[in-house]
Point group: C2
Chain length 242, copies 2
């Protein structure tokens, strides 16, 4: 049975980290909210699963994944579940937890990337918090991007397998997520990233490698890959780069 | 061999979610950074484990847990690891993931609670972002606390076991974390919580029950329980309540 992914149909957002893993693995999946309502899709189908049912299990927010009877929310948790099944995570417990730990640190970075344009409230428009956004984006560019990317570059360099991947000898979902982080940061902060990237040769090489994997390349060239936009997590507002 | 917990020695912070689980289970553990340096403790011992070693595994930030050769970072990931071992999580995979999902949603709330006093940058003093903090705290109180607590109250109510716990028939680490969330929100925003709490009878009852469990009561009465303070995640700045 196909995996059912539920996420906002018009943005990459957090759903993209799951899409990339499903696409790399060539998994059979349906991006439900992107289907027409007459095929059981649309945002309404998604919202319905955000209400408690007999199982008592429902998510605070998308994305979530349905696999038969199992419904799993929180991006990193979905990848934890899929990692073993799709061959995108180590098999041993310590390796699985280490991979998950890196994904949770990526999730922390994603929150901070989001908050550059929404530092006060998700309920206000960007224009109503632009002044604060400029301050927060400056801190993000000057201090937080380097802190996170320094860490991930060090993790890559310290991988005892020297495989060119973040964890162990083979590609994991964390490598795909790092690809997406580099893509997103380049979209949102192109000038800053041009300046910063020479410090992170391993991450840039990992990004380039991921982009060229056959299934990822095919996905990126397809209509399934949504474009970045000013509705998503990574937004390009030129005034936020100094 | 005792678990070794590494966290900032002067605050509850994120480490507290792990401490509560270890204490409830009566686990043998050492809070390493709180030991004197001559006993191998102190912050220096913690910082040393934040550098890559031969394993290549190290954390972006505290807390992290050492269990023999295994080093695990990210609060929710530590609890995922400990949950089964301490008898504080369901045994089946779907139950473990559901418990973890709730913990990750608690982690999201914790980030937002932190950002009420640091909406612009962790590198600036609160006083240098107080104006923005007032705006963010207003949104947090009016919109975000209710959104998160509505969700957790619903989860509690929808638990098919009707056990009085968040998940399944027995206490899990998520119940202890909910206790800490209620404690922290009461400390930071006492007037707001007084107003809001009648909407969340199940969570308040869960909090009261957790506080009275023998091991938790003994812990809270001990010197091991650090006080809340304006160095932690939950901070009481009266001007942030409107």
């Amino acid at each position: 049975m196909a995996y059912e992914l539920y996420y906002w149909p018009e943005i990459q957002g957090r759903g993209e980290f799951v899409r990339l893993a499903l696409e790399e693995a060539g998994a059979d999946y349906v991006d439900v909210a992107r289907l027409p309502a007459r095929q059981g899709g649309g945002t309404a189908a998604m919202m319905q699963l955000m209400e408690p049912d007999a199982s008592g299990r429902f998510s605070f927010a998308p994305p979530f994944l349905k696999d038969g009877d199992v419904l799993i929310g929180q991006t990193a948790n979905i990848l934890l579940y899929l990692g073993g099944r799709l061959g995108l995570a180590p098999r041993d417990e310590a390796g699985r937890l280490w991979t998950h730990q890196l994904q949770l640190t990526i999730a922390d970075l994603v929150v901070e990337a989001h908050d550059t344009h929404h530092p006060i409230s998700v309920n206000l428009f960007y224009d109503d918090q632009k002044k604060e956004a400029k301050k927060r984006a400056k801190e993000f560019i000057d201090s937080r991007i380097p802190k996170f990317l320094d860490y991930f570059e060090q993790v890559h360099a310290a991988n005892p397998r020297r495989s060119g991947f973040m964890v162990g000898a083979k590609l994991t979902y964390v490598d795909l997520s790092m690809f997406q982080i580099i893509e997103g940061l380049r979209y949102a902060f192109p000038r800053a990233m041009q300046r910063l990237e020479p410090e992170y040769p391993r991450l840039v090489e990992l990004h380039d490698h991921a982009r060229e994997r056959p299934n990822i390349a095919a996905y990126l060239a397809s209509a399934r890959r949504l474009p970045f936009s000013e509705e998503g997590i990574f937004r390009h507002y030129p005034e936020l780069e100094h």
